[in-house]
């Protein structure tokens, strides 16, 4: 019922700005646009938990309407514009695919502040924020190399965008730091959210012999398949331990709450600026779920790597690293710069897949 009321409220506000204008004086609206459902158990749920924290922390000053299941593409623009019209002062659009739509709406509404997750296009009233997921994925790779008997993991990927390619590379680099011959099989599901298809991809990878699964899609279906087949897997975006109590080794958990609170406070203070934020493990925007179902030495190794990444001692993309075809990319000791990472469109050596172009 709550969702319905919010939807109705948003529509009503869009139709008659007189009504919402009066209310906007009292509480500032900080709005969220989601690509999935807030209970997907993964990506969107993590954003919604952040929103709930924000609501709890600043609930006396703000309200936090949201729109769920907004498809990427032309519909996104309409949805974001609807939010902007309804009197939102700050809008978080929380999917890579909303990028161009957010840019367009930001141009139309110069007085509204926008923040787009994981994108790279900014404007004076459009900030971007992202999490260094690759730091967590590097740790996953190391654990996989320790735990896999076959030396081969399966990776369920969504779309061939830099963010996902970067994650695959980080995982492979982590694994290779433990086992130089580690292989990574990649399957592109071409969806963020389709439990059936994600499960099919998981089954296909397991049938082809991998004994560890990791995913960059949004539901717990692959975890469930891994549990059924008795292999290990890693959770994505949210702690997925409920779907595989004996299966999940750890999960990279998105913890957006602190960031949402910080930016909303800046908005209320009037100190909000358009920035390109890219935080990682050390900032708490990304956390690791408890390391479980693994021997103590593996756990100790994972914790050590996590500490090194946090302290800055270790950067997952440190040379020598070759590209997939064997040509050198980074010289020994050289670190990849953020620009290259954010536009990553090639695999590193060891990934057993042809990158869709």
């Amino acid at each position: 019922m709550k969702k319905l009321i919010i939807a109705l409220a948003a529509t009503a506000a869009a139709l008659g700005s007189v009504v919402s204008g009066a209310q906007a004086q009292e509480k500032t609206k900080v709005c969220f646009v989601y690509v999935g459902t807030k209970t997907d158990g993964g990506w969107t749920q993590a954003h919604d938990l952040g929103r709930q924290e924000l609501q709890k922390a600043l609930g006396d000053k703000i309200e936090t309407p949201y729109l769920e299941s907004v498809p990427e593409g032309p519909d996104a623009e309409r949805a974001i514009e609807r939010m902007a019209r309804s009197g939102c002062a700050l809008i978080f659009s929380t999917s890579f695919g909303f990028m161009d739509a957010t840019v367009k709406v930001a141009q139309k509404f110069p007085n509204v502040k926008f923040e787009h997750a994981t994108g790279y296009k900014a404007a004076p009233n459009l900030a971007t924020y992202n999490s260094r997921f690759y730091e967590g994925r590097y740790i996953l790779g190391q654990i996989a190399a320790k735990m896999s008997k076959k030396g081969e993991a399966g990776y369920i990927a969504s779309f061939p965008i830099p963010e996902v390619v970067m994650g695959i590379n980080a995982f492979e680099l982590g694994a290779k730091s433990i086992n130089p011959n580690f292989k990574l099989k990649v399957v592109w599901a071409n969806t963020w959210f389709d439990p059936g298809k994600e499960a099919d991809a998981a089954k296909a990878l397991i049938d082809q012999g991998v004994d560890i699964l990791t995913q960059h899609t949004d539901t717990t279906a692959p975890m469930q398949v891994a549990a059924e087949r008795g292999i290990y897997a890693f959770g994505q975006a949210s702690d997925m331990i409920a779907a595989g109590p004996k299966t999940q080794l750890t999960a990279i958990v998105d913890t957006w709450g602190a960031y949402y609170i910080k930016r909303t406070k800046a908005l209320l203070d009037g100190t909000w600026k358009s920035e390109q934020i890219w935080d990682g493990l050390k900032d708490g925007i990304l956390t690791m779920a408890p390391y479980t179902n693994m021997p103590d030495d593996v756990k100790a190794m994972a914790e050590e790597t996590e500490a090194k990444i946090k302290s800055g001692e270790l950067h997952p993309f440190t040379g020598p690293i070759n590209k997939q075809d064997g040509t050198p990319w980074l010289k020994a000791g050289e670190k990849a710069d953020d620009g290259t990472l954010l536009g990553m469109n090639f695999y590193v050596e060891g990934v057993d897949d042809k990158l869709p172009q």
């Binding site: 319905l4 099989k185 592109w188 082809q208 409920a242 779907a243």
Partner: protein, 304 residues
Amino acid sequence: MIEAILLTIITAATPLVIAAMGELVTERAGVLNLGVEGMMIIGAVCAFAGSYLTGVPLFGVLAGILGGALFSLLFGFLTLTLVTNQVATGLALTLLGLGLSGQLGESFVGIPGVKLAPIVFPVLSEIPFVGPLLFRQDITFYLSIALVIGVNWFLFRSRTGLKLRAIGDNHGSAHALGISVIRTRYLAVMFGGACAGLAGAQLSLVYTPQWVENMSAGRGWIALALVVFASWRPWRVLAGGYIFGAVGILQLHAQAFGIGVPSQFLSMLPYAVTIVVLIIISHNRRTTLINTPACLGKPFVPDR
């Protein structure tokens, strides 16, 4: 390996076949119900609820069937009694189903489900290769095959089936002959709803035993395409369902094998195949006319 792939294909094809068989009967009676996706997702949430609340997955299957049938009754009432536009009402049914199921299922999110246990046939299941594929499956698979055989017999070998087809082809004449058009259509719509509900139950109890909002993810639409693809013939629905399922699964395996076909192209294949088949079918106008229910989607108001 081949066995494992075939098992996955069966799981992927079963919900498509079941939902399409229901829609086939509905459309043969002259009613176009575009709400398959909505009825399917309602079936999925009801099935999960039934299984979770009673602890017996089989009750979940029943709940799914019942949920789908009841939900389709709403469509029946609107289009048959109030004579609303079938296309618009069907689309509305899908939207309503997606929203309503999210609401109903809010408390079930994140709860690991119980997988429907397979029914093992004693001797037959021991046959190598064939046994595990055909005789160690859950009830939804057996029902999908039974549906194809049963519907085929019903439509083309039984008197009631003949009447149903007559209604779909010319409701005016059927009415003049004293056949109850509205009653038959209500039953056909509910049969379609029950099948979509059963397909939904397969999703939340077998395919991925859990409840997630929007978990049908467009399978209802594929089922609708399948009916046209099959030119309203039950056996072709079975074949088509398995072709669609196989293309989806094989493209994933091709990727894992490292075959360098762009995955976007492979994801597109089922739909491309449908379009090609539609072109082939429509090329031969005579067969099209034989199989297409002539009154499909047309409203019927008894004049007396």
